[in-house]
């Protein structure tokens, strides 16, 4: 039995969640407090006990969740930690209390006050206080030297973090940001609360500290590198009745790998995350198994080096390349390697982006690509490159989907625009070296964001000094608009601004979108309490406290 989320039901659910958020925001103070009293409680029908065997990439390069950007950390470590607020495990979208029982946002959006729960204990027995939260967020917002935290920019406008009393903490902003953006940042699964003492004892670096105390529903038992991480139920967990399973066995099984697929299909694990499409389709047909697909916070794209290559600095050439891509075919090319969907410059499933039906009518996204190619050729001619381009250095990250795509893209460029490129396949670490150093003409890879909110990607992916703006792209009109979008607190005004930004990106592409990733999960029906169909990415709802075995 599978539960597939189609566009209609996704929009309905997203709409309901959005409406809920709007209602919650507009409630009076007292009402707001009541609305926030929505701590996650277990399903009354849930059974206690048992061992959940979960397969996920879990060979992290280090143990510091804050410094990480990979599921290899958040997959196995999240069950041991809590966040200030969290996404509801039922829909993966609604923000609900976690260690903060409730919160208040000042009318001008410049103060976020969180009220922490009493009696929350870390696994080492120490009580959680606002000092721990302050130490955690000081580190995230202003990491010490040698500590690199990808979520730091989300808190760029956090000024002072003030401990009002042991259970009350206030974040004072230098300037306001949209509430959904800030609350989304606080609810991010990466921002786990750790002890101040832990940070002090380790000079702020937890990279090589395997078992630092959290407040989460599970406690560390043992770990065998690149094999299994075993955790047991935290009997003193603050959320009484949770977690529901006694033991977690988290197996290191790489994404899209035959090992993960075979381990799931042979019943060696109960729940598999990031299955390859072939195993997922097989799982979908199996009786007693549920298979779900959901959106991931990743764009697959290739960059055009504007500083190295004069032709690529011309927006007309970049738009021509953008239009020459047959995206439905590119999705098809990798369908047995990784699940993908067509999209533009903003997450295609985000409420502010151009709806899919509308997008599919635009040049560059249509199934019939003839009109787009015609326009692309016109643009090339207009830019003075009617004869095409020769000898472009196309750097390809050594991952199956990129290798498949690069060949298809190379052929599309040659056939549609007479652009000739030489593929150079390199290891991941080399790819980033080359991309940073600007040693490429074209370079294909994938990048992620922490939030679905356009402001996050507008700064990280397309920002003038954005860390992932590998094309070295600048467009003053866009940067100005992005800055306004970031500051605009009214959602109804933000939406048309985002559309306008999309239009700029369409005409002057900072990268060439190839596809947006999806995640394939599957689980045996004995696993209850979680269905990720409406989740965004695999980094927010990752705690397994709500899951039970029937």
């Amino acid at each position: 039995m599978s539960e597939h989320l189609d566009r209609r039901s996704f929009l309905k659910r997203a709409g309901a969640v959005g409406a809920g958020a709007v209602v919650a925001v507009r409630l009076s103070g007292a009402e707001r407090a009541a609305a926030q009293d929505a701590t996650f409680h277990p399903d009354p029908a849930a059974k206690r006990g048992g061992t959940l065997r979960y397969g996920i990439l879990s060979a992290a390069a280090h143990f510091d969740v804050h410094q990480s950007g990979t599921v290899a950390n958040i997959g196995p470590q999240s069950p041991m930690y809590d966040t200030l607020i969290r996404r509801h495990p039922k829909d993966g979208q609604t923000i609900i209390p976690d260690l903060a029982q409730r919160w208040e946002i000042s009318p001008d959006g410049k103060k976020y006050t969180f009220h922490l729960r009493n009696g929350v204990k870390f696994h080492d027995g120490a009580e959680l206080t606002a000092d721990d939260v302050k130490a955690t967020y000081e580190r995230i917002a202003r990491p010490p030297q040698g500590i690199v935290i990808p979520r730091t920019p989300l808190f760029a406008t956090v000024g002072d973090i003030v401990v009002l009393d042991p259970h009350r903490i206030e974040f004072r902003m230098t300037e306001p940001r949209p509430k959904a953006y800030m609350l989304g940042a606080f609810a991010s699964g990466w921002n786990i609360i750790v002890r101040k003492k832990t940070l002090d004892d380790n000079q702020g670096n937890l990279r090589q500290v395997m078992n630092y105390p959290g407040t989460g529903p599970f406690k560390h038992v043992s770990r065998q590198d690149k094999e299994v991480w075993i955790q047991e139920r935290n009997p003193s967990y603050w959320n009484k009745g949770l977690p529901l399973v006694d033991r977690l066995e988290i197996y290191h099984l790489p994404p899209f790998s035959p090992e993960l697929g075979s381990s799931f299909l042979s019943g060696k694990i109960d729940y598999a995350r990031l299955l390859d499409p072939v195993s997922w389709r097989k799982a979908k047909e199996m009786p007693g198994v549920t298979a779900a697909a959901f959106n991931q916070s990743v764009i697959q794209a290739f960059w055009t080096n504007m500083q190295k290559n004069k032709a690529l600095a011309d927006p007309r050439v970049r738009r021509a390349i953008h239009l020459a891509m047959d995206r439905p075919t590119l999705v098809e090319v990798v369908k047995d390697t990784a699940p993908m969907q067509v999209g533009g410059f903003v997450y295609p499933f985000h409420e502010t982006s151009t709806p899919r039906a509308e997008l599919e009518k635009k040049l560059g996204y249509q199934k019939d690509i003839k009109p787009a190619v015609q326009e692309a050729r016109r643009l090339m001619k207009e830019a003075g490159y009617a004869g095409g381009l020769r000898g472009l250095d196309f750097v390809v990250r050594d991952i199956a989907s990129f290798k498949l795509w690069s060949v298809a893209i190379q052929a599309m460029l040659k056939e549609h625009l007479n652009i000739e490129s030489n593929l150079r396949v390199v290891q991941t670490s080399v790819w980033f070296d080359e991309a940073k150093a600007g040693n490429f003409d074209l370079a294909i890879s994938a990048i992620v964001s922490s939030l679905m909110d356009p402001s996050d990607i507008f700064s990280a992916w397309y920002g003038k000094d954005g860390p992932q703006n590998y094309s070295r792209w600048t467009n003053p009109a866009f940067h100005d608009l992005a800055s306004q979008i970031e500051r605009e607190l009214d959602d109804s005004k933000r939406k048309p601004m985002v559309r306008k930004a999309e239009d700029i990106l369409e005409q002057d592409p900072p990268l060439i979108p190839v596809a947006y990733e999806q995640i394939y999960d599957a689980w045996y029906n004995r696993v209850h309490g979680q269905n990720p169909s409406t989740y965004f990415g695999i980094y927010d709802v990752v705690r397994w406290d709500n899951v039970w075995l029937g």
Binding site: V148, R207, P258
Partner: protein, 318 residues
């Protein structure tokens, strides 16, 4: 004999020193930044030059190369073998945990190669150019030609789709649970063993054919000995020397092949650890594992050389 041993020990030490120096230099000049694996793509993109300097110093990578090399040799001398860049695990722990599985696979492969290769070689040599000989030669060539990792993947898929079976996904040592341990090592051991067995079959066939034509074999036959005895007692011991030599060389193939075959079977042995370390640019792990493989290869070949004297009384080392 002592002189010979001392000479071989010196050669071995020089060889290993050369290997250590080569792998040390190669790993440092290869492109690729270990900080991508440590900080992740986003973290790496946001890293400032100051952060880089600090992290490289923490990892011990900012010291001059001769100093780094001397530290490594010091670590080897102390038996620590250094620490992984990433999680702080020592390479010695890694070897202690994963080594036994890889060793079992290598030993199993060796046993399988002899158990399969030698009888097939004898059978072929018994009746050269007969149908069984042709069949044995064809199968030998097939196993030499088929890549181990591909055969491994086929076996894994066949077991999964026909029997819903998969071997245990975490290491179970022989002394912990022999049955589950065997399930882990049997697949890679067989695949590697059959490939090596094919070489041994071909080598033993050609050596036996050569020896069977010798005068002493003709004499044995003339005495009226049964053909089986002629082959097993007189011809085979004399044909074994080259087979033993090739077994030592083949161990190198087993070690190299185990990297891909462990990956195909999903066995968390040393070969797979090496693949992961290469991808992560965990150079401390890579250099120690490569050196370990080199040590095994050199030591085995010394033993192979020494075994000649035991197998053939005419050979003496001085």
């Amino acid at each position: 004999m002592r002189k010979y041993l001392a000479r071989r020990a010196v050669y071995a030490a020089v060889t290993l020193l050369g290997v250590s120096l080569s792998i040390f230099v190669i790993l440092r000049i290869l492109p690729g930044d270990p900080l991508v694996a440590i900080l992740g793509v986003e973290g790496h993109a946001r890293m400032t030059p100051t952060d880089r300097v600090r992290i490289m110093a923490d990892l011990g990578l900012s010291a001059p190369l001769p100093v780094q090399y001397a530290h490594w040799l010091g670590d080897i001398g102390a038996g620590r073998l250094g620490k992984s860049f990433f999680r702080g695990d020592t390479v010695a722990e890694l070897i202690a945990h994963r080594g036994p599985i890889s060793a079992e696979i290598a030993v199993l492969a060796l046993i399988v190669s002899w158990l399969v290769g030698l009888p097939v070689g004898i059978l072929s040599a018994f009746k050269p150019n007969s149908m069984p000989d042709g069949l044995a030669r064809a199968i030998s060539v097939l196993f030499i030609a088929i890549p181990g990792f591909w055969l491994g993947m086929l076996i894994v898929l066949a077991l999964l789709f026909w029997f819903g079976y998969k071997a245990p996904i975490v290491i179970v040592q022989l002394w912990q649970d022999p049955w589950r341990n065997v399930q882990i090592v049997i697949g890679p051991g067989l695949v590697l063993g059959l490939a090596q067995g094919a070489y041994i079959a071909r080598m033993s066939r050609s050596c036996l054919l050569e020896v069977i034509g010798e005068d002493f074999v003709r004499t044995a036959r003339a005495k009226g000995l049964r053909e089986g005895l002629v082959v097993l007692r007189h011809a085979l011991p004399n044909a074994l020397l080259p087979v033993i030599t090739i077994s030592g060389v083949l161990l190198g193939f087993v070690l190299g092949g185990s990297v891909a075959v462990e990956q195909a079977f999903g066995v968390p042995g040393l070969g797979r650890a090496l693949v992961t370390a290469v991808i992560e640019r965990d150079i401390i792990v890579v250099q120690n594992l490569v050196l370990l493989y080199a040590v095994i290869f050199v030591v085995v070949n010394v033993f192979v050389d020494l075994s000649y004297a035991w197998l053939d009384p005419r050979i003496r080392y001085g």
